[in-house]
């Protein structure tokens, strides 16, 4: 799946609108959850499945890593999109099954990857994990 610069800009605008809407909705969760969950249940939700400091550090570093959306857009070259249907661009040389093949993006490949996989390779991978 590819898209051109105008597509990309449109996607970015939609993304921003999504985020604004998400945040507006998010402000309401206190009220909604208060009706649906008991106090004890809300406490379980808040306190469980936490990220430790190492995880948070790794996430912050990842947020700051150098991406290349602007350069790709300015060049007018097609940009691979992970948000539109099936897209195995996360794996190169995959001749088998891509994980999440009809979801947002493929990050790993099983049963026939001959190249590289962004998220790792299965035992049968003859290439290498990125």
């Amino acid at each position: 799946m590819t898209m051109n610069r105008s597509d990309r800009e449109e996607t970015n605008m939609a993304e921003s609108a999504d985020r604004r809407q998400f945040l507006r909705n998010a402000m309401k969760i206190g009220g909604a959850a208060a009706l649906l969950l008991t106090s004890a249940s809300r406490q379980v939700l808040a306190q469980s499945l936490q990220l430790n400091s190492q995880d948070m550090d790794a996430a912050r570093r990842a947020q700051l890593a150098q991406g290349a959306p602007a350069a790709a857009s300015q060049s007018g070259e097609p940009v691979s999109s992970g948000y539109h249907g099936c897209d195995c661009s996360g794996c190169s040389g995959c001749t088998g099954t891509c994980s999440d093949s009809c979801g947002n993006k493929c990050t790993s490949c099983t049963g026939g990857c001959q190249g590289t996989c962004a998220g790792g390779c299965s035992d049968s991978c003859k290439g290498s994990a990125r």
Partner: protein, 391 residues
């Protein structure tokens, strides 16, 4: 009919009868009749849908019950009938089974018919399964090697469904790992929508959260496996809810689904069968999509204010049964789903952080980083929200 979809799902509820009485089964609202759908009625229904007008290309026949293998001759009768002539629509067949009633004759027939797939119900470990499903683990599990070998031979994904109840939450992660170890690449697991938790709700939620944490660790170490939806709910649906005109629905009850009970009566889906509701359903067979405004005007459940409503599984039949409206959602499973969403956020944060760190310093790699970062930002927002604002 079914214009929004390029397929139509036709469920044939072959029989009410079942040889098990699982602890969480919703088919407990009325006595089970011993009636089996007549072969003539089942064949007529099949023919009607294979010739019905509509833009859908495929009709998916799903045999259910009760236990559909107790009406095995009906499955054979419908499949053979459909195969005897050419139809305007393409078709496929499937059934869901507790797996205890396979025999050599059934297996041999299935080995000769690659048009039909099936899903096993196995609730994880032997102990968990036996607690939920009447001690039937050994009777079901003996057929798994054959089912896996058949799936591999036919190049179809073997399907397994695991239901989690109050007695088995503490064994959830171990159960999923066992099913993967058996050879199932994907494990469909869920808690029921019904009010089955009683005074064990909070203790079950605490245990459930710990089990989800174990699954996050496990799937990070096994990227070759398709993560269970327990920790991989669709983030793409988490945003833009009210921004969309249509109120989100999770299932296909009414469209693209239709179900026929043992008397050949049409229903929106199998969950409307009388043993599952305690009444004869006489309402509409399809439910027009509603806008957010329409839902809000009609005594909505508090779910309409939740930012996660579009990613939250919901049963339209149970909504109708309990609240009189397929879009007025029940929320006994709310705490479990919010924990699943938080686990999904944690899983995404850890996986994307790792993927970004490992991305190559190439144009392609940097483009990927940008995509991953957008998803990572969203996952961090969700995780933070469910850590602070919910309390």
């Amino acid at each position: 009919m079914a214009e929004r979809f390029d397929f139509r799902t036709v469920q044939l509820h072959l029989t009410d009868t079942c040889n098990l009485r699982c602890s969480y089964c919703y088919e407990a609202w009325a006595p089970r009749s011993s009636q089996v759908i007549s072969l003539a009625a089942a064949q007529e229904i099949a023919a009607r849908h294979l010739t019905e007008e509509g833009s859908h290309k495929t009709v998916e026949f799903d045999f259910i019950g009760g236990e559909p293998l107790l009406a095995w001759d009906r499955i054979v009768g419908v499949v053979d009938f459909v195969h005897q002539r050419h139809w305007p629509k393409e078709h496929s067949f499937s059934f869901s089974t507790n797996g205890t009633l396979f025999n050599d004759e059934i297996k041999a027939w299935l080995d000769r018919h690659n048009c039909i797939s099936f899903s096993f119900s196995i609730d994880g470990t032997r102990e968990a399964h036996n607690k939920n499903r009447c001690g039937s683990y050994d009777r079901a599990i003996q057929h798994v090697p054959w089912a896996l070998e058949r799936a591999a031979r036919l190049k179809i994904q073997p399907r397994v469904k695991m239901t989690i109840g109050p007695d088995t939450v503490p064994m959830m992660a171990e159960g999923i790992l066992e099913l993967h170890a058996m050879g199932f690449d994907k494990v469909d697991a869920n808690v029921p929508y019904e009010n089955i938790w009683g005074d064990r709700l909070e203790s079950s939620l605490i245990s459930f959260a710990g089990q989800l944490d174990q699954l996050v660790d496990y799937y990070l170490l096994h990227p070759d496996l398709e993560p269970s939806r327990l920790i991989d709910l669709p983030f793409s649906k988490l945003v833009g809810t009210e921004g969309e005109d249509e109120f989100p629905r999770w299932c296909g009850s009414g469209s693209p689904m239709i179900c026929y009970d043992v008397e050949g009566r049409p229903l929106p889906c199998h969950r409307f069968v009388s043993i599952s509701t305690g009444r004869i359903y006489e309402g509409p067979l399809t439910f027009p999509i509603k806008t957010w405004e329409e839902v809000k005007k009609s005594k909505p459940s508090p779910c309409v204010e939740c930012p996660f409503v579009a990613a939250c599984p919901s049963c339209m039949a149970l909504n109708w049964l309990e609240n009189g409206d397929v879009d007025r959602r029940t929320h006994w499973h709310c705490g479990f789903i919010l924990l699943q969403i938080k686990a999904s956020a944690k899983f995404k944060i850890l996986r994307l952080s790792r993927d970004i760190a490992a991305a190559p310093q190439t144009d392609e790699g940097r483009a990927k980083v940008s995509e991953y970062q957008a998803e990572l930002d969203r996952a961090l927002q969700v995780h933070e929200l469910l850590s602070e604002q919910a309390v």
